[in-house]
Symmetry: C2
Subunit: 284 residues, 2 copies
């Protein structure tokens, strides 16, 4: 059975994405941190990793972009999961009893409007949404709530007080599948690279010209600080095409003439939107 | 006396930036959230706001970018402050006693290497570094520590256990001064805009061409999600020049032909690096 590592506890959104992408016949390998997922795939402990790279409201998950630089893994797939956040409590707990809400900082941020309507409630950031659900189950406290998936509520036997508490329902998270080797070429692919420009006038404009001159679509550009050199940036770019196509190869070769640094991150089929309805799955 | 609003308690890094930029003859107006700073300047309660927009390690502070869209304020100044984080405790507390560390999520992130060396310590995100210092003073707890500035430790009469605990000492935060009106034109200015591209092939490339064709330097490009339209982006751009110069006006007029949306955010003198050594200041 395929082994897939993700960050978080059972019931995490990353596990929902894993089951949507690979189906139910998969052994899941939960890890505490993003970097441990990279290490599990690099070492062969897992066949693939499933990691969030971008949310349609809060933007990129920069840590995972930064980690791509330090590991020799390829992006081999993509899935876009609709995120539905739920306020989850121990059995019988009512809204006015809640004094503290635990979740991942991005989930707290995405439910800001709902949370700002609660009086005297402290928000506590933890490393994982599903872990927050597990922790309130463990404590048994009637003053604590977690924000997590419906699956997490079901897994830990908790009540959902309110569902769909995210401020904006157009709330999707885009996950990447990471692997040690590329898959075979498919039509309608995307390619991801990271590069920095030489310190020349119009460096970024010249870099983008290698795609514009070949009518290659750009899907996303993300700038990240270059550590140790304040106010200099590296750029993560997603564009249409596969590394095994001539036009893609030529665009990358052309960019190498202009860039100070370039790393190929992967070519993979464009992801479809998914509902995040979890399937029956064999336990780990 | 000039009134300047910032987010956080007395002793916050934003207060240090305020005193570096405006000198000591300033009345500071601390606010709990970024949006309250925008509102204080918009309403006239404060003359200016001082807000962090970017850190040289963790990247942009996206909330402040997003808030520029909703308020009609101008960027009128910039300052780059060297950030030195300190582990702060109640008098006499020793390192092994600490069970919880409170700070702003970005400060916790920036001290990750140091914090990962502490055993069984829970990290708690709060809205402000200096507020974390004030809170541990208030609780008097010997199990709690805060990460904040040396100024915050001095303000609240707390001990610094260890100074300079940030993982990377090339740690600068870039602040913007926000005002209701532009200052006079000065030489060597920067201009900031936000725009979105029409849904045309090479939209971003064509947008950047209006600067490249005029030899205008680009300093920073930041993409942010367009809410309600997953996987579409708006771009924040900083470039050389002043809105009152002919070449800048022409570049912006040219970009308006290509862009679906464009908003001018301000022209202001380029910021210098500052040490964050706080000066004697008149109280509020």
């Amino acid at each position: 059975m395929i082994k897939v590592a993700f960050q978080g506890e059972l019931g995490a959104y990353s596990e929902l994405a894993t089951c949507e992408f690979f189906g139910s016949d998969v052994t899941v390998v939960p890890k505490e941190t993003f970097v441990e997922v990279y290490e599990a795939v690099s070492s062969g402990e897992a066949d693939h990793g499933m990691l969030p790279f971008e949310n349609s409201l809060t933007g990129s998950i920069h840590e995972n972009y930064d980690l791509m630089l330090d590991h020799d893994l390829f992006i081999t797939g993509e899935i876009k999961l609709r995120i539905v956040h739920n306020l989850i409590v121990n059995k019988g707990v009512k809204l006015p009893e809640i004094k503290r809400v635990y979740s991942h900082p991005q989930a707290l941020q995405q439910c800001k409007k709902f949370l700002s309507g609660l009086d005297n409630v402290e928000l506590v950031s933890v490393y994982d949404t599903a872990g927050a659900a597990r922790d309130i189950k463990k404590s048994g406290s009637t003053e604590e709530a977690a924000i997590a998936s419906a699956q997490a509520a079901a897994d830990y036997g908790l009540d959902i007080i309110q569902s769909g508490i995210e401020s904006n329902h157009m709330n999707f998270t885009r996950f990447h599948v990471l692997s040690r080797e590329l898959n075979d070429e498919v039509p309608d692919s995307k390619t991801s690279i990271v590069f920095s420009t030489k310190n020349i006038p119009g460096g970024l404009f010249k870099s983008l010209s290698v795609f514009a001159l070949r009518d290659i679509d750009l899907y996303k550009i993300e700038s990240r600080p270059l550590h140790g050199t304040p106010w200099k940036y590296i750029f993560y770019l997603d564009f249409g095409g596969d590394i095994r196509q001539e036009v893609t190869k030529k665009a990358i070769a052309h960019l190498e003439e202009i860039a100070a640094f370039l790393k190929f991150l992967g070519s993979y089929p464009k992801g479809k939107d998914a509902t995040g309805h979890i399937q029956e799955r064999n336990a780990q």
